[in-house]
Amino acid sequence: MPTIDHDIGGTGAAIECAAALGQPCEGRLLVSRHGFNARYDLDLGSGTFSRPGHDLYGRSLAGRIFVFAGPKGGIATSWALDALAQRKLAPLGLICQQVNPVLVQGAALAGIALLAGYAPEQAARLVDGARVRLDPQRRRIVMLA
């Protein structure tokens, strides 16, 4: 099970995850409580959330570390992350509790860091706008501020 390590680099607590891929990155969180599918939820031309009723409706993924409940629906996300990355509209990183293969395949193709499988009680610490560092090699989300 994922556990918390309170002594990471002296910068604050870290959240451990069960699985990860990609390269380290730092950025601010963009947090959704919804599931995510690029085709269902995004305007792929602008990288903004276009689905009415989505809790990030009108906001952009670009340059943020996107936290969401888990993937939903079909295969679109597997291509869409790379398409967004090529146009500088992609998130820096992805954090979710649950994954499906499509999300992992998409992150691998796009070269976007992905950390998954943190303890559910840690969700409250992942607040919108918080600054974090993703360390995929150590499967850790480091809380910076």
């Binding site: 990860a20 891929l21 599931g35 269902y40 888990g70 597997s78 291509w79 499509v102 992992v104």
Partner: protein
């Protein structure tokens, strides 16, 4: 992950740069999921259409084709973003047509059979029990795992391409028997009639589970689903909940009994799904009443039986003047539909047949803007679910009610 000599050589580039890229992607994904090895697959269904690949995906596919990539196992293409013969009738941009053409040309150069279908299991490559597959359409994966006992994970677009080029997939998830047992039990206490009811059931369970790894099992009493009804149920379950497998006790091969479905886990008390639950799904897609712009039978593409059934239900009646009735099929069904005279009868009633595409991949937001469409009626929860995000106000109705809506132009 343990690789054999041939796989190690592929990783080093001995089989060319395309295969090297492919196995590299698979190793990264396999490591994420803790796969111990790569295993051979019987066939591939590629999820690649220009609407989701974008130009970056097209560039990748053209590069792979240019690098001499060749498929190693039977490999098919999924539904594409337009009907190559009728795209202009939907005012789709010529750039979309041209890019989709280039994409499919690239796939053909690699050796893909360009079937453009999301129902390959009904008309091209039926899966067999325990066959390992690399399929890239989520509804097709759920169908193969559930109804045939075949074994596939969701192989998203690039992953399905990679699997075609290596003939392999990482062994994790639904390739392993231990991940195929049920962990939730539902009991359907109301008769289900027609594809829309089954689609609603899939949507309800999918929304309740919302987890790729979870396999639900369903007890049925007063219902005996047809293959088409299972198709819609499983496509909706995948769409709403990212589900890849569902046992229907007594109807699917790995669940002759509840005990078989649950393996070593005790069979839990079932959660009941009654008529109110199914009706709740319909109420979630109630529509706004009044005029209907579009009636769409799609998502997944229709079987010959389903498409012929719509023609029979029309009984020669004509579609209302300001309403469009659209049926999407694959090219294999289209050929039979035309040979048997159904296509002529559908056209005489004012209906439209699209082949090789599915409505929701056909730039639906752009089509809506071009024609001012808003009110759409369908028996497919999957379609209704997706098109809500494209600015439509979808209504879920039975097939009969959909046909009536097309004829009267008004939402029943």
């Amino acid at each position: 992950m343990k690789l054999d000599d041939e796989q190690l050589a592929m990783q080093r580039g001995a089989a060319g740069p395309a295969a090297q890229w492919a196995i590299g992607q698979q190793i990264e994904v396999g490591r994420f999921f803790g796969a111990e090895r790569l295993i051979p697959v019987g066939s591939v269904l590629a999820g690649a259409e220009i609407g989701i690949t974008g130009l970056s995906g097209l560039a990748l596919l053209e590069k792979l084709a240019g690098d001499g990539a060749r498929v190693r196992v039977p490999s098919l293409t999924g539904a594409c973003s337009l009907d190559f013969d009728r795209w202009s009738e939907f005012r789709l941009p010529i750039a979309q047509y041209a890019a989709e053409r280039r994409l499919h040309d690239a796939l053909r150069r690699m050796g893909f059979i360009d079937t453009s279908t999301c129902i390959n299991y009904q008309s091209v490559t039926p899966p067999r029990f325990r066959e390992h597959l690399a399929w890239g359409d989520t509804g097709a994966v759920a169908f193969a795992n559930s109804t045939a006992g075949a074994r596939s994970n969701y192989e998203g677009g690039p992953a399905s391409i990679a699997a075609a080029l290596t003939g392999l997939v990482p062994e994790y998830g639904f390739h392993l028997r231990r991940h195929r047992f049920a962990s939730r039990l539902y009991e359907v206490s109301t008769p289900l009639r027609g594809t829309s009811d089954w689609s609603a059931l899939g949507a309800w369970i999918g929304a309740d589970v919302m987890d790729y790894r979870t396999v639900p099992a369903v007890l049925l009493h007063d219902s005996a689903p047809s293959i088409d009804e299972l198709k819609h149920c499983l496509a909706a379950a995948a769409s709403f909940g990212s589900l890849a497998m569902m046992h229907l006790i007594g109807a699917t091969p790995e669940a002759p009994t509840p005990e078989a479905a649950f393996g070593d886990t005790p069979v839990p008390v079932p959660r009941r799904i009654d008529r109110a639950a199914i009706d709740g799904v319909y109420q979630g897609f109630a529509g706004e009443g009044g005029k209907v712009d579009l009636v769409v039978f799609s998502a997944p593409q229709l079987s010959l039986q389903e498409a012929a059934d719509i023609v029979e239900r029309l009984r020669g009646r004509h579609v209302a003047a300001d309403t469009r009735l659209i049926v999407t099929v694959n090219h294999q069904v289209q050929a039979e539909f035309e040979r048997l005279g159904y296509a002529r009868r559908l056209a005489e009633s004012g209906g439209e047949l699209l082949a090789g595409t599915c409505f929701y991949v056909m730039a639906p937001a752009l089509v809506r803007e071009q024609f001012g469409f808003r009110h759409l009626v369908t028996p497919s929860c999957k379609l209704a679910n997706i098109l809500g995000g494209a600015g439509y106000r979808p209504a879920l109705r039975s097939v009969d009610e959909c046909v009536d809506a097309a004829v009267t132009g008004v939402l029943p």
